[in-house]
Symmetry: C2
Subunit: 342 residues, 2 copies
Amino acid sequence: MYSVAIMGATGAVGADLLRTLERRNFPVASIKLLASERSAGKTLNFRGQTHTVELLTHDSFEGVDLVLASAGGSISTEFVPSAVKAGAVVVDNTSAFRMDEGVPLVVPEVNGDAVAGHKGIIANPNCSTIIMLMALAPIHRAAGLKRVVVSTYQAASGAGQAGMEELLEHSRHVLDGTPAPAAEKFAHSLAFNCIPHVDVFLDNGYSREEMKMVHETHKILGDDSIGITVTTVRVPVIRCHSESINIETHRKLSADEARAILAGAAGVEVVDDLARNMYPLATRAAHEEATFVGRIREDDTIANGLNLWVVGDQLLKGAALNTVQIAEILAERGLLAAKAKA
Amino acid sequence: MYSVAIMGATGAVGADLLRTLERRNFPVASIKLLASERSAGKTLNFRGQTHTVELLTHDSFEGVDLVLASAGGSISTEFVPSAVKAGAVVVDNTSAFRMDEGVPLVVPEVNGDAVAGHKGIIANPNCSTIIMLMALAPIHRAAGLKRVVVSTYQAASGAGQAGMEELLEHSRHVLDGTPAPAAEKFAHSLAFNCIPHVDVFLDNGYSREEMKMVHETHKILGDDSIGITVTTVRVPVIRCHSESINIETHRKLSADEARAILAGAAGVEVVDDLARNMYPLATRAAHEEATFVGRIREDDTIANGLNLWVVGDQLLKGAALNTVQIAEILAERGLLAAKAKA
């Protein structure tokens, strides 16, 4: 049983972290909810008990075994080192440490063994990366990925609770024919729109989100040779990301072979019955743990091509669930008892 | 001055056909509005005058010079031959005749000269094809397209006025927390969803919409060697299609060269200023005649790769505008006086 702290407990991912710890019966001895001044003092429910959110400080981690951090990159950069210093193991759901050497970047179904080398921090990948790799890692193992062309259809939840609320509020203004307030969580109003802009733009013309999907995939699969080109797009969907993925593999896979591989992959559900209009849908994937793959078909414009449509819940497999799954592996393998060893 | 008939006058494209004929001052001597029994008797406004919609019959085309047809493929299949027999020239905005030999398939900025060979029918391409080719044809001329990987973000307007209304109605139910009626215009509810299903599915696992984009592109560009693989997706947007396009060209084009080529292309506007969060947006492109291209960047996973984000108004450049532009070319070139010649 572990003493667990949650950084960013009042956010959208924070809420799903609590629900996921409950649902999966993670061995929590005590829970500490941490947030900024704005949210300290609020109360949240965990396993039927009310807990008051405490102000996050550098002294918050005394006696804590496990920190699940999801309060934003700058907060993690500032506070995670204090947690590690206090002897806690941190599973960090921000981009702060993902590309650091010595920090495992883990999707449990893909590279769970990578947790072994941790030095106090394990990073949870970007949500779009996780959802893509749930489908691509089994194919990579079977046939070797050569090149990936992916276009995303990303939900408002990637911008947190306020992002989802802004989408709904702006949508209501469009329906009512009243002017919406200025967009705050997105660069433009997301209501009935598609915005090809997620995270900031970099000098190479790609967004940071697009390059995260490239670099994180290379790190997680341990293979920098895979060509990956990405267009990330925000769409007016509440909490599930969809991805249109075109791949080229080193060895030929038929659509049926790919379907069989994915049907046998942990955490993946194949939904691919065109005669019954069955394929993954953002609205159906909401609150589901699985990543859904469909529209699996051969692309005959290249020798070894496939197209896939992949959908996952951004707040669960893209964030809270993957974070808790990492904690579960750490617990199973005795890698959480940092303090006991010290 | 021409006697013009519109088939499907009461639909979403029909409304934009009337507005486009007005806005562009097409030389209309008289106008005849044709529709099915359900809509006959309704009145519509054209150039300040009220016109009563007449029932479409095989005898509707007496004395008509030009028919703009947008009432659905089966209606065109049935009635367009009668229009041609009566001596009219038909610009058909359905898929009924697009792939027929002897029927020019025309995007005026791309292959306007193809109208010359018409035998009474000129076909207007699929909306997603037109919008894609507005961006790709200039690049094809400059550097030769080798392969195209495209994922679409298609608006509800592709399913007509009823499609747009269903999206808005279902969205309101989601916002109000009340159950929406069953989806009728889409396979599933489109509200806050992405549906990777446009038109029916074919035996090869692709949708007919996806294959239209392949075959129509080959016909319009006159080059079957271009590899084109497509994923078409319906998104909760009202009337503009967006497309994420990855291309491989035979000759290298830098992003700056591509930007310059597109900036000089007729009907195209480059919107690509990342520092000012400027890129094409579905909400901004609505009711605009131009096709907008942005996010132009090199894809270094292949030797000659580029990524583009392309947006156009599905009802205008994707349908009504392109149809009227074809009629304009026919008029300019004296190709409408079929009856006078007879």
